[in-house]
Amino acid sequence: MYLDIFNKMLESELEEKRKLLETSPYSTELGMQMAADARKVMNGQMEQKEFYEKYAAPMKKEFGREWAALEEKPEKNKKKGPRWGMVIDLAKCVGCDTCTVSCKAENRTPPGVSYNVVIEEEHGSFPNVKKLNLPRPCMQCDKPPCAQVCPVRATYKMDNGIVAIDADRCIGCRYCVVACPYGARSYDNGFTYEHEMLGWEDVQAPEFGNDRGPRTKGKLPEGTVRKCTFCFHRLERGEEPACVETCIGDARYFGDLDDPNSIVSKLAASPRAFRLREELGTEPRVFYLL
């Protein structure tokens, strides 16, 4: 509206536009055209980018140099962040359970909840016995069956590849526990270590960046389902997940699977790499090296 008023003012004040422009040494036609199109841009009938593209060449020709260029504004979230993934070298794993313990310490998980476990398997019979240690965090599947079945979308896939749980929305139906092919989800029964470890309830891990203060009976996340978060709160401050950092044999690698030059990408492409229960089509983001 104001634009119209200003336009009208200009029209009445500057009646002899063409004559005025002709006094300048440069092209009158170009000036008139640019003015008309500039108005279009102001009115939203023309994209700014289009305007620049249209006049970049004529202006260079007229004025002899690059006169104006559209400033490339970085579009919000245009650059994709990392999409996290993990590689676990089973040949390096000694089955010491440090990852399980450090995970428990970092995430302060209650009794009965363990985001990471090390499954120990024995194959063959004596004397031809082989023991396999299989650390099992959440696979952070790209096609997570848990998120598929959650009735309230409390569990979902984040852009960074991590499968999150929104405890504020979770109704605690445990359908995801039934649906997870890796047994990577646990229900928080509200148990506590307080009686054997004074002050345990005073602090909770800020899971998904959400600090819920001390652990209180009847308050969230009690009564909801919990799972490995790839230590999202640590990633946000530039640290590796606790299990990766503490692994004594350096069997775990963590990084951006979207970056072809990252260690995890290279290891995941190795012929030694496999994923658990690949036949289910869940596309886990945790790779194992055998």
Partner: protein, 433 residues
């Protein structure tokens, strides 16, 4: 027998000491079980949460989920039976029409109560209605249940409307309740009743796909879509679910009809009971056939989890739920009873078969939930070890008592009894002769 005489007869019946005693025992025992159940519910579920159950991360669903699908099946089965009357106009089953609808409603309410118990955060329960994950079978089910319950209530109301108006006009006991329930519409002209019947038919027809695909097939799909559990993850699973719903619904209708007649010392309509028995035979046979393929193909695949599940079901400490309940009580014994010429023509034997089926289907439902979950999803993870705690048992019995209380209240205060109807009355007399 005219309708007034019939009503008088019933009032007379109630004054009979035998009935009075029976009623007193019935109410007394139900209330005791219900109250104990509710105490256990508050003490266990509300104060201790899931810690009051034996559920673990390996077996996250247990007795309450099994009973929930049991009552869902009961409801869907009873409703489908009632559509024979109201949807397809098979009036030979008229006398079980309303009680089938009432039991469908009551079973549904009980089923929803059971699944409510299984929710870890009752304070978040409305999220289930607010947020709808379209890929989640459970989210669809929650909405279907609500719709289905509304259809059931509308059906029952429409089928009773004529009698409600009559009761309101007779100004007998509780006439004000009936007067309120007519919602000021006293039109019982032939035209109005015809409209009623039309609507009953429409709702019945809408209800059939809703009950089969929405409520029951859908509930089966909740389990069948879990690809982590090979025993559940078959296309046949929801179909078996529907079949066992039809089985338990038919059995329930037979049992309610015959037991009610026995209590009031009336003669049961043998031809109808026989027809219902034949229907039960059909459903049981189809279910047996489907289960045969389910087990055969599952076993043939030699998948470790599948084999372990079948082994858990048939030969672990839970063997009796499969062999005695699922195969014995809910399959072979009723089939034998319903096949032998002598027993299939006897009301008492058919009643026995129906009651056995009703009890046995609990085992069927249990075996759909627990054994597939006992087997760990990854080799090396802990095996499940589930047995309901005392709290789970007592709470479950409390809710079952609630179900029976609701049904009895419905029978007592609503015109469910079909023999009061003119048509029903005539037929009943004929049967008595």
């Amino acid at each position: 027998m005219g309708k007034i005489e019939a009503a008088l007869q019933q009032a007379h019946d109630l004054r009979e000491p035998r009935l009075r005693n029976l009623e007193r025992i019935w109410w007394g025992s139900l209330l005791i079980v219900f109250v104990i159940g509710m105490i256990s519910l508050v003490k266990g579920y509300f104060l201790e949460g899931m810690a009051s159950t034996n559920l673990t991360d390996t077996v996250p669903w247990g007795a309450w989920v099994a009973l929930y699908i049991y009552f869902i099946g009961m409801s869907a089965g009873s409703f489908l039976l009632s559509t024979l009357v109201y949807g397809f106009g098979m009036h030979q089953y008229e006398r079980i029409g309303r009680s089938a609808l009432l039991s469908a409603i009551v079973s549904m309410v009980t089923a929803i109560s059971f699944i409510f118990l299984d929710i870890g955060r009752p304070d978040h329960v409305f999220n289930a209605i607010l947020y709808w994950n379209i890929t989640s079978t459970m989210a669809w089910e929650i909405h279907f249940y609500i719709l289905y319950l509304l259809v059931l209530i509308a059906e029952l109301y429409l089928s009773m409307r004529g009698d409600l108006v009559r009761l309101a006009k007779e100004k007998g006991r509780l006439w004000k309740l009936y007067d309120f329930l007519t919602f000021g519409n006293y039109d019982v002209s032939e035209e109005a009743l015809r409209r009623n019947r039309k609507w009953l038919q429409i709702l019945g027809i809408i209800g059939i796909p809703l009950a089969i695909f929405g409520v029951h097939g859908g509930t089966g799909s909740i389990f069948a879509v879990a690809k982590a559990r090979p025993f559940l993850h078959t296309g046949l699973f929801p179909v078996i679910f529907i079949l066992s719903a039809l089985v338990s619904g038919t059995a329930l209708s037979i049992a309610i009809y015959v037991i009610k007649n026995k209590v009031f010392k009336r003669v049961s309509d043998l031809s109808m009971v026989r027809a219902l028995g034949a229907m039960l035979t059909l459903f049981l046979s189809v279910e047996l056939a489907l289960e045969w393929y389910e087990f055969l193909i599952g076993w043939y695949g030699l998948k470790a989890e599948e084999l372990e599940t079948i082994r858990t079901m048939t030969s672990s400490i839970w063997w009796w739920t499969f062999w005695i309940f699922q195969m014995g009580l809910a399959m072979v014994i009723p089939l034998v009873i319903l096949f032998i010429k002598k027993t299939r023509n006897s009301v008492n034997w058919i009643l026995a078969a129906a009651i056995m089926t009703i009890i046995g289907v609990v085992g069927v439902r249990f075996n759909m939930v627990v054994p597939p979950l006992v087997v760990p999803v990854l080799n090396g993870l802990p095996w499940g070890d589930y047995y309901p705690t005392l709290s789970e048992w007592v709470t479950s019995f409390g809710l079952i008592a609630m179900c029976l209380i609701l049904y009895t209240l419905g029978e007592k205060f609503l015109p469910i009894e079909q023999s009061e109807l003119e048509i029903g009355g005539i037929e009943h007399e004929r049967a008595a002769k």
